[in-house]
Symmetry: C2
Subunit: 185 residues, 2 copies
């Protein structure tokens, strides 16, 4: 990996583990095995590096979600596949956790990709649910946008419950609860 790549990857890991406020430029340099001069040669500072790191994480997340949602199956099956795909539940969501970072939320440049990622995700899920409604599948009477927001919220909240319990169990329970509701609607 090139030095800028190592710096970006180290920033991604640290943002996920410790958040933005808890990540110092020095910790990034140490993890990347890069000197201070090298870091400031490639990036103007921590915000610039964080932006690159968040952009890369958001891009990977979108690609993974799109692969599932554009796959075969009914709308309910695709939403279920999305909710049930393998996850490192206890690590939480690398994008969602940024919303708890006051400095990320206060900086429009850093909040931008977080907002865009969730807006895209809600829209994409709403489109899948609207497709299912047109085909007369389950949930034909539901508002696709509201249901999509509930789906994304259950995932993000499931991570919170799992971390609180130090166990993935409440995450899976919340997903089961939502899917049972969806299958009956």
């Amino acid at each position: 990996m090139s030095t800028p790549d190592r710096l970006i990857e180290s920033t991604r890991e640290l943002l996920w583990e410790r958040g933005y406020v808890g990540t110092s430029p020095r910790a990034i340099q140490q993890r990347a095995g890069a000197g201070q001069g090298s870091m400031y040669h490639h990036f103007s500072g921590k915000p610039d590096l964080a932006l690159a790191a968040i952009g890369r994480t958001a891009g990977e997340m979108r690609a993974g979600v799109e692969e599932i949602l554009s796959g075969p199956g009914t709308a309910a099956e695709r939403v279920s596949a999305y909710l049930r795909r393998e996850r490192e539940v206890l690590r939480g969501c690398p994008i969602g956790r940024l919303t708890q970072d006051p400095e990320v939320m206060a900086d429009p440049m850093l909040r931008g990709p977080v907002e865009e990622t969730f807006a895209w995700l809600r829209d994409r899920l709403a489109a899948v649910l609207a497709e299912g409604r047109e085909r007369g599948e389950t949930g034909a009477g539901l508002d696709p946008a509201a249901t999509a927001s509930a789906v994304v919220a259950v995932l993000q909240g499931g991570y919170v419950l799992a971390r609180a319990a130090a166990s993935p169990e409440p995450f899976h329970q919340a997903v089961d609860g939502l899917l049972a509701l969806l299958s009956r609607s």
Copy 2:
């Protein structure tokens, strides 16, 4: 307010605003208008103060939830009242946000009240839903524990979506989506 009370209240505010990692003993002292000697006279350090602050926040939260859930109405009405009660959506949940704090999660003493609060909340909601099931209300075929976890997850995830969007709208949309699903089950 007494000095210990001012220190606890300042810690509560700072934990909510900036998290544990982002809150220094110095910032607590400044906000409380207390000196370092005074703080260490009353508390052994930041973890001790945080424990008192988290305990107080958790106690208030439980009392507020209990008031709604033990009130009148069907199970669905009480769950709806709980989800729709007025909230400072953009500030997020003072307990839930602690799950994103690596130092809180790594310290069993500090994670304890976070775990207990969510376990209590899920159990309490499950009991309300089980009551509704026995009375033959809506959702009679649902698993109360799974549905309760989905309800708590939608709230916690709704805060994440609202903060990402810098608007309470996605929070309310997720709540609407879940309540529509519940009312059809």
